[in-house]
């Protein structure tokens, strides 16, 4: 199940694990990323908590936890090479995975059509 947030994140839910990244629209708006800071594995977040930071030359942007849960895995490859997020935001540029406190919460996120409408695509 692929979902989106109004903060331009994508969320792929498989069982009770959600993989989170930022959308291509977000990467275009942010520009080339030069630094990514990811949460510690095991860290827990409420929905909307500051989970990660992505930075371009000009600015730092927070990435929020799309749902409540605990971090199970982070993508070290994008820490080593932030440009991967720009190159493949929906694939190799994923940010982190989290175990959801409540899988059903994902239903509250935007579906692809709603997200496309949000960004005027």
């Amino acid at each position: 199940m692929l979902k989106f947030t109004e903060d331009h994140e994508w969320v792929r839910v498989e069982g009770d694990i959600a993989t989170v990244g930022i959308t291509e629209h977000a990467t275009v708006q942010l520009g080339d990323l030069v630094f990514v800071e990811l949460p510690e594995v095991g860290a827990t977040f409420d929905k909307g908590g500051d989970a990660a930071t992505v930075e371009s030359v000009k600015a730092a942007s927070d990435v929020y936890a799309p749902l409540a849960g605990a971090i199970t895995e982070v993508n070290q490859a994008i820490v080593d090479e932030p440009a991967k997020v720009n190159q493949d935001p929906a694939g190799e540029g994923w940010l982190f995975k989290m175990k959801l406190d409540n899988t059903a919460d994902a239903d509250s996120l935007l579906d692809e059509a709603a997200y496309k409408a949000l960004i005027g695509a």
Binding site: D32, F35, E55, K58, A60
Partner: protein, 379 residues
């Protein structure tokens, strides 16, 4: 200021056609970036040539009412700690306007064009500068905003190559030369200077001619349009101050490490010692040092440290000792770079400080600027 009140430069429609993403800056709607984005625009300027619209900045023509250039020079020396008397025709130099406390009202270029001086000042301060100059030297000098001119900069190692076909004379110019010349058959003012640390030119062109000039420059492979985002990262790597961030009315030129801009003639024992606002403070600091200094800062880690970050002497210190005034990622260095103010005892190369970023204390090292070597054509 609401968005409808934003002013546009004469190049606004060209920017829009080139795919600019606009941002409000000093009351103008300016291109933050073009299609390539800040990172690639920055690197392109270092590798080839970048074209910048700087028409938001102000140009002021200053002449003595009696027509004597020396009197105009002496008048300008009353408002800035700089030697204007010995600034030869065809040359320009950097200066600051000071207030009575020695604080910086603006930083600017003063160009001697032989029959007048031209001051190029910051966008956000240009109205205040004009009023200040009218108050201080308006009795003896006529000060005229050059409103019919658009300002552009062409910067980078291929700037000379790109501009030469339109103005072969520029090949004879060296860093900080300035002159009136024909560029593509139109009379313009050109200087070999800029705000990137690279070789390059700044051009004041008639408003109705500037778009055609830009299109001819952009038609060349070496030249790409560059927005304010890369302008900021380029000047940061070059260790150049941004007024309003690294300089303000609470900062003296000595605190800002700009003492190189105050020539011997204006210092203690000089031919025209003092005689500018705040001279008591500034001359004393020149001799005894300032309590705090602007320094370059390199991060040990990879996280950019940006303006506003507090600086600490210790990883666990509770009281900040200083603050970052400009900072970000330097694309040429592929590393974070910053500038900030710290107490003099910490303003020594290799001093280790800590910047607070998102609740963490990140180690930073005081480092010489420029971070990216200047590549001016000095000879």
């Amino acid at each position: 200021m609401n968005e409808t009140a934003l002013r546009q430069t004469p190049l606004h429609s060209l920017h829009a056609r080139l795919g600019a993403r606009f941002t409000p800056f000093a009351g103008y709607e300016m291109p933050a970036q073009f299609k390539d984005g800040v990172l690639k625009e920055h690197l392109h300027t270092r590798d080839a040539a970048g074209l910048f619209d700087i028409s938001h900045m102000g140009a002021l023509k200053v002449v003595a009412k009696n027509g004597d250039m020396k009197d105009a020079a002496l008048a300008l020396e009353q408002v800035a700690p700089v030697d204007v008397v010995n600034l030869k025709a065809g040359r320009q130099r950097y200066a600051v306007l000071t207030n009575d406390a020695g604080g910086v009202l603006d930083d600017l270029m003063i160009a001697n064009l032989g029959d007048c001086f031209v001051l190029v000042v910051n966008a956000a301060t240009k109205e205040a500068d004009l009023a200040h100059l009218q108050d201080e030297i308006g009795e003896d000098c006529a000060i005229q905003p050059m409103d019919r001119l658009a300002l552009i900069a062409l910067q980078g190692p291929r700037a000379e190559e790109a501009l030469s076909p339109l103005a072969p004379d520029i090949q004879q110019m060296r860093f900080m030369d300035v002159r009136m010349m024909e560029i593509d058959g139109v009379a313009m003012m050109a200087s070999r200077s800029g705000y990137t640390g690279e070789d390059g030119f700044e051009i004041a062109a008639p408003i109705e001619k500037v778009e055609a000039l830009c299109e001819k420059l952009l038609a060349q492979d070496a030249v790409a349009p560059i927005g304010l985002g890369a302008r900021d990262s380029l000047r940061l790597e070059a260790g150049l101050c941004l007024y309003g961030a690294d300089l303000d009315t609470n900062t003296t030129p000595i605190e800002a490490a700009l003492e190189w801009s105050i020539q011997k003639a204006r210092r203690r024992g000089g031919a025209r010692e003092g005689g500018f606002p705040g001279d008591d403070v500034i001359l004393a600091q020149l001799e005894n040092g300032a309590a705090r200094r602007r320094v370059g800062l390199k991060a040990e880690g990879r996280a950019p440290v940006r303006a506003g970050a507090q600086l600490y002497a210790d990883e666990n210190g509770s009281t900040p000792i200083g603050v970052v005034t400009s900072g970000g990622f330097g694309p040429t260095l592929a590393a974070p770079v910053a500038m900030g103010y710290v107490p003099a005892q910490h303003a020594t190369a290799d001093a280790r400080l800590f910047a607070e970023v998102r609740g963490k204390r990140l180690p930073m090292i005081v480092a010489a600027t420029p971070f990216a070597p200047h590549r001016y054509k000095r000879n």
